[in-house]
Symmetry: C2
Subunit: 385 residues, 2 copies
C-alpha cells in the first residue's frame, strides 16, 4: 500500500492522478490532498478518497472547506505553509507535486528532505532550484520520478541502460497552437487563441507556456537536472502529433523513444507504480491507421522563449529562477490582458538582462530573486513599447 500526498489535486494533473489512484484501490491510499482555492472540488475529492489530511493554501477558503467536510474526521490545514507540512509528512510514501510555478519548490524540498519519494509534475521546482533539489534527493537517497510526459519518456528510455552511454536526449515539442506562424500573426494572438492546445488538455499556465515554447525551455532546464546532462546534450525537435514523447540517442547510434497517445495518465501512473507497469486505460496507438509522424526544427526566432531558456540555463546560478519568475508573471499579465503575446519574451529578456547572477543561491535567495523578478516584470509590462 503506497500512501500518497497529492499536492494540487484539483488541477489537470491532480484530477488525472486521482483517476489512476482510483483504479488501483488495493495499491494506493490517498493520505493527503491539497488545492489552492477550489474548496468545493477539493471537498468532493476528499469525500471520495477520505484522506487523513487536506490543505487549502488560500486561507480565505478555509471556512468553506471546513463546512463541506464537517463530521468526516479529516484534518484540515490552511495557508501556503501547509503544503510543506503535507510534503514532509512521515506517513506518506510518495508525494505527487503538481503545484503550478515557483510555489512548488518549497514542497519539493520539504518532500525530499523528509525522505519521501517525489513524483514531480512541478517543473518550475527544478528550473529555479534544481541544484538544491538534486542535492537534497541525493542526501536523502530518494528518487525524483518525472511526471512530465517528455521526462517520463526519457526516464523510461534509460531504464536498464548505461547513463554514460547517452550521447544526446531529444525532447519533442508539439509546437503549440502557433507553430509555423509569423510575427505579424503572433502580434494579434489573444489569450483565448493561446489556450487552445492542439494535442494536450492542460492547465492554463502550461498551455500558454506551450504556445510560447517556454514550456520546452523549462523542460530543457528540468532535464538538465533530472538526468545530469550538459545543455549541449539536450536537443528539442518539433513533433506536431505528440505521439513520440521524447528520444534518447546512445553513443552506439541506437535511439530509444517512448511513444503513445497524448494521455497524461500514462506518465502519472508510471511515476506512481514505478518500477512496475500495471494495466492502464489510455487509448492505444493504432499503428495501422496512424497519421504520418513529422519532425521539424523549432523556430527560435519567432519563439525566442526557447533560446532564452537555454541562455538562462547556460548562465546558471539564479538566472533560471529569474527566467521562470519573469515568465510566470508575464503569462499572468498576458492572461489578464495586461501584456501581449509577444511581450512575454520581451519582458523575460529585459528582466534577465537586469539581473545580477547569484551562483549557488540558497532557498531564501531564490525566494527574493523570484519576488524581485516578478516586480520588475510588472514594471516592464507597464512601460511597454
Amino acid at each position: 500500500m503506497k500512501r500518497i500526498a497529492l499536492l494540487g489535486s484539483t488541477g489537470s494533473i491532480g484530477t488525472q492522478a486521482l483517476q489512476v489512484v482510483d483504479s488501483f484501490p488495493e495499491l494506493f491510499r490517498v493520505h493527503s490532498l491539497s488545492a489552492h482555492r477550489q474548496a468545493a472540488k477539493l471537498a468532493r475529492q476528499a469525500r471520495h478518497f477520505l484522506p487523513a489530511v487536506v490543505a487549502i493554501s488560500d486561507e480565505s477558503c478555509y471556512n468553506e472547506l471546513k463546512a463541506e467536510l464537517s463530521g468526516l474526521g479529516i484534518k484540515i490545514l490552511a495557508g501556503p505553509d501547509s503544503l510543506r507540512e503535507l510534503a514532509a509528512d512521515q506517513e506518506t510514501d510518495i508525494v505527487l507535486n503538481s503545484l503550478v510555478g515557483f510555489a512548488g519548490l518549497a514542497a519539493t524540498l520539504a518532500a525530499l528532505s523528509a525522505g519521501n519519494t517525489l513524483a514531480l509534475a512541478n517543473k518550475e521546482s527544478l528550473v529555479a532550484g534544481g541544484h538544491l533539489a538534486m542535492r537534497q534527493a541525493a542526501e536523502a537517497g530518494v528518487n525524483i520520478l518525472p511526471v512530465d510526459s517528455e521526462h517520463s519518456a526519457i526516464f523510461q528510455c534509460i531504464q536498464g541502460q548505461q547513463l554514460d552511454a547517452v550521447e544526446k536526449i531529444v525532447l519533442t515539442a508539439s509546437g503549440g497552437p502557433f507553430f509555423g506562424r509569423n510575427l505579424a500573426f503572433l502580434q494579434t494572438v489573444t489569450p483565448q487563441d493561446a489556450l487552445k492546445h492542439p494535442n494536450w488538455v492542460m492547465g492554463a499556465k502550461i498551455t500558454i507556456d506551450s504556445a510560447t515554447m517556454m514550456n520546452k525551455g523549462l523542460e530543457v532546464i528540468e532535464a538538465r537536472w533530472l538526468f545530469g546532462l550538459p545543455y549541449e546534450k539536450i536537443d528539442v525537435v518539433v513533433h506536431r502529433e505528440s505521439i513520440v514523447h521524447s528520444l534518447v540517442v546512445y553513443r552506439d547510434g541506437a535511439v530509444l523513444a517512448q511513444l503513445g497517445t497524448p494521455d497524461m495518465r500514462v506518465p502519472i501512473q508510471y511515476a506512481l507504480t514505478y518500477p512496475e507497469r500495471l494495466l492502464g486505460h489510455a487509448p492505444r496507438v493504432c499503428w495501422n491507421t496512424l497519421s504520418p509522424l513529422n519532425f521539424a526544427p523549432p523556430d527560435k526566432s519567432n519563439f525566442p522563449c526557447l533560446p532564452l531558456a537555454y541562455l538562462a540555463g547556460a548562465i546558471g546560478g539564479s538566472m533560471p529562477c529569474v527566467l521562470n519568475a519573469a515568465n510566470e508573471e508575464a503569462v499572468r499579465l498576458f492572461l489578464g490582458g495586461k501584456a501581449s503575446f509577444l511581450d512575454i519574451p520581451r519582458i523575460i529578456e529585459r528582466v534577465m538582462n537586469k539581473h545580477k547572477v547569484v551562483t549557488e543561491p540558497d532557498f531564501d535567495t531564490l525566494h527574493d530573486v523570484d519576488k524581485e523578478a516578478r516586480l520588475l516584470s510588472q514594471e516592464y509590462a507597464k512601460m511597454k513599447g
Copy 2:
C-alpha cells in the same frame, strides 16, 4: 577480450561484423571465421584478423584456401561439419551465427550446448528449431542475442523492463520493393527487380524474403521464441522509412521503440558488446530534416507469405520448418528463373498442405522434414500452373 567465432564471415552481416570488431581491437579477438565458398575473400579476412581457425563448408574450396593461407599457422577446416566445430569451440566466448537458412541450425545448437553465447543473425535457426534452441540455451544458461534489427530493437526496448508487462510487440516491415503493388504487377516481377531493396543492403536470400514479406513472417516466428510471446501478441506494421526498427507496447499504454538509420552495424555491435553500448559509427538520424514516418497495415492478400508464416507458427511442431524449407527452395528456384515471384507463396502453401505435422521434432526429424519439403517444392515448381 571477447573471443569471437564468426560463422558466415564473407556475407553481408559477416563483413559488417568484422568492421565492428576491427574498430575495437582492444575488446575483441577473432578466434575463427567461416565461409561457404568464397575462399579468396575468407583468406583476405584471415590475413587481416589472423584467427586461430578458419573453415570453408564447401570442401571443393579447401585447396584454394589452403594455398592462400600457407605459412600463417592458421588451422583450416573444411566441410559442413566444421561449422559445428567452430560453434562449439571452448576457446570462443561468443558465436556470431550469420549463416543463411536451415543450415545454420546445427551451428546454433552446437554453440548453445557448448555454453557459448550466441549472437544470432540466422533467423531460420529459430524458425525451424526454436523449441530446441531455447531449451538448449536455458539448460546451458547462456544468452541468445538477436542481431536482426527488429529483434535487436525489441531486445533493447525490454532491457530493465518487466517482460510480463508486455502487451504486444510490433515488428516494423519496410514492405520491400513491391509494397502497394497489385497482383498484375507482381506477376511480372523478375529476380533483378526483387533484389532492389529500398532501405537495407542485404544478402540475396533475405532481400527476396523481404520482397515477398516472408522475411517478416520468419521474424514473427523468431520473435515468438526469442521473447516467449504467443502469436496474438506479435503484430506487424509496414513502416516504409525503416527508421523505427520495432516497438514494444506495455500494458500501461506506454510504447518503447528503437530507432535509427538503417545500418546493421548498430544491432551487430549491440549484440557483440551487450550489455554495454560503445561508440558506434552509424550515421545519426537528423531529426530536424527527417522525412515523415509512415505506418500502414501489411497487405496480407497480395503478400500471402506473412499469413502463411503466422499459420505455420500457430500449427507449430515441424510446420515452421516446412514453411522455411519450402521458402528457401522456392526462393532458390525463383532466383534461378525456375519459378515466378507469385509461385513462391503457392509452392509454400502446397508443401505445407501436404505435410503431416510432427510435434516436438528433434534435430534429426527436422533434418528429414527439411529435406522432404525441399524435394516437394521442386516437384511443385515443375508442375506449376
